[in-house]
Amino acid sequence: MSVIETRNLNYTYSPGTPFRRDAIKDISIKIDNGDFIGIIGHTGSGKSTLVQHLNGLLRPASGQVFLNGKDIWEHPKKIREVRFQVGLVFQYPEHQLFEETSYKDIAFGPSNMGLDADEIDARVRRAAKFVGLREELLQKSPFELSGGEKRRVAIAGVMAMQPQVLILDEPTAGLDPKGRDTILGQIKEYQQENGSTVIVVSHSMEDIARCAKKVLVMNRGRIEMFDQTPAVFSRADELGAIGLSVPAVTRIFMILRARGYDVGDNVYTVEQARDRLLPLLKKGGDA
């Protein structure tokens, strides 16, 4: 069964002013339990607006959002429950840190859930482990940490709510290559260990290629594609037409295929490319 389903979602910013702007139009998607989904699109394509509908931060102008088959706006008073089930990590989440210690900041979500102290403690430590925060960092003020560490504290703050669905909006924005790799790796591990549903919003095709099983491509507030990662990346021309590009290795393989070499497709990472090419090249060496 789908954990999240949307039916004909529509949303407009600033209706009735000169700044009126359609954000998303007619979005209907189904997300299965345990899926790892990448959402990609330009700034202003509606990705962030869409994910804020999934945890009830935005209320659709029309259309419905279902969580485990239930309309999340059936009881608007209980919308907070939905936010515990669908955890959303915002872009630059380190800007939301406020507590005296990282530990307390991570505990903010779980304590809002009304859990008892032992349970909160267990969850904070578990979440901290997922993002690789050492004990001494937990007792430090979050404002003393490095950029990458702050980001990880903020992500742990949402993981600690143990949501059924974890959504991360641009989790690697503004980080250096090392920080980016660390966080992507941790998210992947989290997903595998918990088997929970994870949605990552990103500009970077390389990031998406590395972790997502399915890709949702958005353009001008609409869904352009929603399919398995290989199927989406095989439509490089269409992606190019809306200004998105496939990873460089994928492009290498496309050029080679266009030149008539039978190298196959479905290659998005350097490792995949190496493993695919080596036998072919070695064959030549042996001949």
Binding site: H42, T43, G44, S146, G147, G148, A173, G174, D176, P177, K178, G179, H203, S204, E206, G243, L244, S245, P247, A248, V249, R251, I252, I255, L256, R259, G260, Y261, D262, V263, V270, E271, A273, R274, L277, L278, L280, L281, K282, K283, G284, G285, A287
Partner: protein
């Protein structure tokens, strides 16, 4: 001729007692000459000292030891400070936090106004600068309504209006989406090629460094590697050692070379990589 030369520049912060009271060394004997008209990319992970070094180029920071000369002027000379800052303009990372005014053209005018340029001349420079970065049609817009790439181009125009000889950009694309990154890079590249403005680009993105004439890699306050993009990116293992990425095509060729496929070094783009690979695939009779 050199526009910037750093002679044995050291820089350290005094730390507090509890941290041992020892000064924290950020730049360690940097020796570097940047030629007029050159496009230099400065790479390094966070904390490698690249931003600190950049701030020495326009006298925002002064060396604790050694000297920085900008077109022969010592940055320590207080009387020359504003002339140095005019000559070496600086664009910062966060596009939101460097625009002063609520109207694009008034923001671009801020620099020349500070320099006491005459109103007519400011008008001319502002229009010219906005035209150069392709933002002239937005001159009466409010900055907060622009996209990140547009804001960053306005920031560049604000520097251009001071008629600089050199522009230092401190991770100007780190907070932008791919579209914005492209806009900013194309603008910077054009300024360098068409107007001969010296560019120092600090970045994490290897695809951006590829555009430069010279790439410098910093680590722990020193310049670790320098050379043309091809030379630098052929040293894949060293770059990885300092936690930097290489472009995917370069990495792929390197990986294959490690496995005994004698691909050439210094491949940077997908096209070059495909070209090199097809020669080997041809030899292996794949698909023909």
């Amino acid at each position: 001729m050199n526009i910037i030369s750093a002679n044995d520049v050291r820089f350290y912060y005094e730390t507090e007692e509890e941290a041992g009271g020892r000064p924290l060394l950020v730049l360690d004997d940097i020796r570097l000459d940047i030629e007029r008209g050159e496009f230099v990319a400065l790479l390094g992970h966070n904390g490698s000292g690249k931003s600190t070094l950049a701030k020495h180029f326009n006298a925002m920071l002064l060396p604790s030891g050694g000297r920085v000369l900008v077109s022969g002027m010592d940055t320590k000379d207080e009387k020359l400070r504003y002339e140095i800052r005019r000559m070496v303009g600086m664009v910062l990372q966060n596009p939101d936090n460097q625009l002063v005014s609520t109207i694009v053209e008034e923001d671009v005018a801020f620099g020349p106004e500070n320099l006491g340029v005459s109103p007519k001349e400011i008008r001319r420079r502002v229009d010219e600068a906005l035209k150069t970065v392709g933002m002239l049609e937005y001159s009466d817009h409010a900055p907060h309504k622009l996209s990140g790439g547009q804001k960053q181009r306005v920031a560049i125009a604000g520097i251009l209006a001071m008629r600089p000889d050199c522009i230092v950009l401190d991770e100007p694309t780190a907070m932008l989406d791919p579209q914005g990154r492209k806009e900013v890079l194309e603008t910077v590249f054009r300024l360098n090629k068409e107007q001969g403005i010296t560019v120092v680009l600090i970045t994490h993105y290897m695809e951006e460094a590829v555009l430069a004439d010279r790439v410098l890699v910093m680590e722990e306050g020193r310049i670790l590697i320098q050379g043309t993009p091809r030379e630098v990116f052929s040293r894949v293992d060293e770059l990885r050692g300092v936690e930097l990425d290489v472009p995917q095509p370069t990495e792929l060729c390197h990986e294959l070379r490690m496995q005994g496929v004698p691909l050439p070094e210094g491949i940077l783009t997908a096209e070059e990589c495909a070209q090199a690979l097809s020669m080997f695939l041809e030899a292996a009779h794949v698909g023909h």
